[in-house]
């Protein structure tokens, strides 16, 4: 096995173990908490007796704990998360559409923020020590410090004052769309404010990551060596400095994905965006524990998988790992 394959398999094994631990956590968290919420809830009057009977059978609620645990793992793997107390339908039928909605918001926001962050971080690092650098660094730290839910509120205020943009949901309530294009236009219109909020919150952090990474690279010998070849500043940045600075950025961004989730949840709640964060928020208020339990697993698994993708990308782009 080559060093590259060994590295990748090591990461995949780690991811598998992580997912297994997350499942286990999830099981015990909801069962060992004071009052055993799961046990109580599956006797909830909100469910019909036949539903309760079926759940008891599926999750073995009358069986010993270890058998319940095995059933839970089996059910989780097959996407059976039980029934939502609040929605009265299977958790997965609520969860997966919400996950999709979250990604519709989170992925473009992350991409735009990274793209802008690389540009501003590059400028700040190259002009290190100037007023411009100070302004960019200070501004980025300020963006990073702004409470997401408050920034979103400010945008809502602005939109209400100017009567310009929708501030809630994904589509206009009750609207029927004559064409897909009309539906898409409505979606994009609803997306502007949450997307701007989330992008801004992520942007500052990526700028600082890029700046610091690039400053480290600019001190390296190979940068000076490239200068001694007669390289111009632009060439030096584009060909030598930025590629070397972007590499560590991939792993830092992957690691920070868990943090980005926080920003995403708050943004969704503020703008009532029907994603997984909004779902979690509603589930907390409705004490809909099956949904909470499943949402935790799904978000964690998505993050772990995203990290695996970043790891593979990183090791593919870095010849030091690829040709170990």
């Amino acid at each position: 096995m080559s060093g590259f394959q060994k590295y990748i398999s090591k990461r995949i094994i780690f991811a598998a173990i992580s997912i297994f631990i997350i499942f286990t956590f999830d099981f015990f968290l909801f069962r060992l908490m004071p009052g055993n919420p799961i046990q109580i809830l599956y006797r909830s009057p909100a469910l019909s007796p036949s539903q309760i009977a079926s759940l008891e059978q599926q999750f073995g609620l009358n069986l010993p704990m270890w058998q319940q645990y095995l059933l839970f793992i089996k059910n989780t793997f097959s996407g059976n998360f039980g029934i939502s107390i609040y929605y009265h339908q299977s958790v997965s039928s609520v969860l997966f559409p919400a996950l999709l909605n979250s990604l519709i918001l989170l992925i473009p926001a992350t991409i735009i923020a990274i793209f802008l962050g690389i540009i501003t971080g590059k400028i700040a690092a190259w002009r290190r020590g100037t007023t411009l650098d100070g302004a960019i660094t200070g501004g980025s730290m300020a963006l990073y410090s702004i409470p997401t839910f408050w920034l979103g509120g400010m945008f809502i205020l602005l939109a209400i004052y100017t009567r310009s943009l929708p501030v809630s949901g994904m589509y206009t309530t009750g609207a029927s769309f004559p064409s897909f294009a009309a539906q898409l236009a409505d979606l994009l219109n609803h997306m502007i404010l949450p997307l701007t909020t989330l992008t801004l919150v992520l942007f500052g952090q990526f700028t600082i990551i890029m700046r610091n990474s690039l400053i480290d690279v600019l001190e390296e010998d190979y940068i000076n060596f490239a200068k001694s070849k007669g390289a111009s500043d632009n060439y030096l940045l584009a060909r030598h400095a930025v590629p070397n600075a972007e590499l560590p950025m991939i792993s830092v961004i992957a690691v920070n994905l868990g943090l980005s989730v926080g920003g995403a949840i708050l943004t969704e709640v503020v703008f009532s965006w029907p994603g997984i964060g909004f779902l979690i928020f509603n589930a907390v208020n409705a004490r809909d524990y099956p949904v909470l339990q499943a949402a935790f697993v799904i978000v964690a698994v998505v993050i772990v998988l995203a990290n695996i993708v970043a790891d593979i990308l990183y090791s593919y782009l870095d010849p030091r790992i690829r040709y170990q």
Partner: protein, 284 residues
Amino acid sequence: MNDDFSFWKEFKSNRKGVAGLIIVGFFAMMALLAPLISPYDPNATNPSLFLAPSSSVHIFGTNTLGQDLFSRDVYGAQISLIVGIAAGAVAVAIGLVAGLVSGYMGGLIDEIIMRVVDFFIVIPAIVFMIIVAALLGPSLINIIMVIGLLSWAPTARIIRSMVLSIREWPFVESAKANNAGNTYIMFRHIFPNVTSVLYGNAMLAISAAIFTQAALVFLGVGNVTSISWGEIIRQAYTTGALSSGDMLYVLPPGIFIFVLIFGFILMGYALEEIMNPRLRTIKG
């Protein structure tokens, strides 16, 4: 670097650090002197003042219970600082011990601790916090512990990488040769040399904890009965004060959270710059 005097001199000449210190000092005074500053008992209700607008007696207006918002904004500094500092301290303490043991012991122990760190860095802590806080109930101590116990991993990673280089230094070798115990070497010899990184890291941990506490309260799983900035913003949303455009309801608590976090970040960044001169913006 270990010379306290020159450290203070460096810090004083770092504009970010000084600005951060002034900000944090301002809010610390606000929290301590809250009973003197606030014109009203922040919990005193007055049914006749339902969402009263700003006036000369209630400069930020009142909430649905007729409580004075200015007084509540002033008192809000207390919870933010208490939770921020306590949760930050828990996170840094755990991270420090984990990082010291991991870096110093090496081998299998290091491998295990680092995988645990990886795990805690990867999992979406905020979701976990929401669920645990919702299940456990939102007492102050629960919030502090939940935030602290889920935020130590980055500190552990940084400390470990420092320990890895420090343990190769001659004085550690000589301590080992003198048969000093592992715990003794870790805390007497290595610990003093990582404190430099610890300060900056602690500031960042505090700023993150303040943010998280406000976010949890906003989502309704924090301690919603005590006075906090996150709670004031949450009420602004739920009572419609935000959508009716009541600026003095929403602006002050948001700006306070923002500025206080910014202050801690400035201090943390300044401390990092002093320790790692490569990052300096202002050379000179």
